[in-house]
């Protein structure tokens, strides 16, 4: 399984902070597994992806395997 971690407002929109999806998981698989509103948000330029704690320069190149953690990171909050 791949663990998705939803940060910030995405957690509320996903209905929880984490979710499990079957491995392997790529970008098309991720978008396809989410409802269309959430998928559109995650596809926006403002949301970044980290695979096992490392930010992806190009999130569309996601390749997650069994046991991996994919974090979905909206813009951080202001002060």
């Amino acid at each position: 399984m791949v663990t998705l971690v939803f940060l910030g407002r995405l957690a509320g929109q996903a209905g929880g902070a984490t979710r499990q999806l079957p491995a392997p998981l790529d970008w098309a698989g991720l978008l396809g597994a989410l409802d269309t509103v959430l998928a559109a948000q995650i596809a926006s330029d403002r949301v970044r992806l980290a695979l096992n704690g490392a930010l992806l320069a190009d999130k569309t190149q996601l390749q997650a395997g069994d046991g991996d953690e994919v974090a979905l990171l909206p813009p951080v909050s202001g002060g």
């Binding site: 910030g8 407002r9 813009p75 951080v76």
Partner: protein, 152 residues
């Protein structure tokens, strides 16, 4: 010398932390510190900060190293709260100790400006009508731009 970088999930006293930090760096003539606290605002009942451990602490650590490389400091401290906070509680403390006060001021100023962009925190406020996520602020971008325009 490494920076004192901490993520704290319980309230802390900035004053005691700064006094201990100053005492630990007696060769420094000046200590500049910044405390951010939850503003007492008629609307805000509480503030919640969430973070993503694999990114947030490494981001703070990298920022600390960057600040130490840029200014000649005797010491640097960056502490940040997470979790639920009430009005008046400290959120963040940055302190820089240096031989010369200009270095201490610039280092602390830079650290707090960059903490917003280099460390990953998401905030929401509880108001009478529920919880509201806080978006990035234009002022933060302007604060960061200062450092790109004029190297310290």
């Amino acid at each position: 010398m490494g920076a004192d970088i901490r993520l704290l999930d319980a309230p802390f006293a900035p004053g005691a932390a700064v006094d201990a930090f100053a005492a630990a760096h007696p060769q420094a003539g000046g200590i500049t510190s910044f405390t951010g606290q939850v503003r007492l605002d008629s609307d805000v009942l509480a503030l919640e900060l969430s973070h993503y451990a694999p990114l947030t602490l490494p981001g703070m650590t990298a920022l600390g190293e960057q600040v130490l490389a840029r200014w000649p400091l005797a010491g640097l401290l960056i502490w940040h709260r997470t979790g639920l906070m009430r009005p008046g509680e400290p959120i963040v403390l940055v302190a820089a100790a240096a031989r010369h006060r200009r270095d201490a001021f610039q280092a602390a100023d830079y650290a707090i400006d960059h903490l917003k962009s280099d460390a990953w925190f998401w905030k929401r406020e509880q108001r009478a009508d529920g919880w509201h996520w806080i978006e990035p602020r234009e002022q933060d971008h302007a604060d960061l731009a200062r450092w790109r325009e004029s190297p310290a």
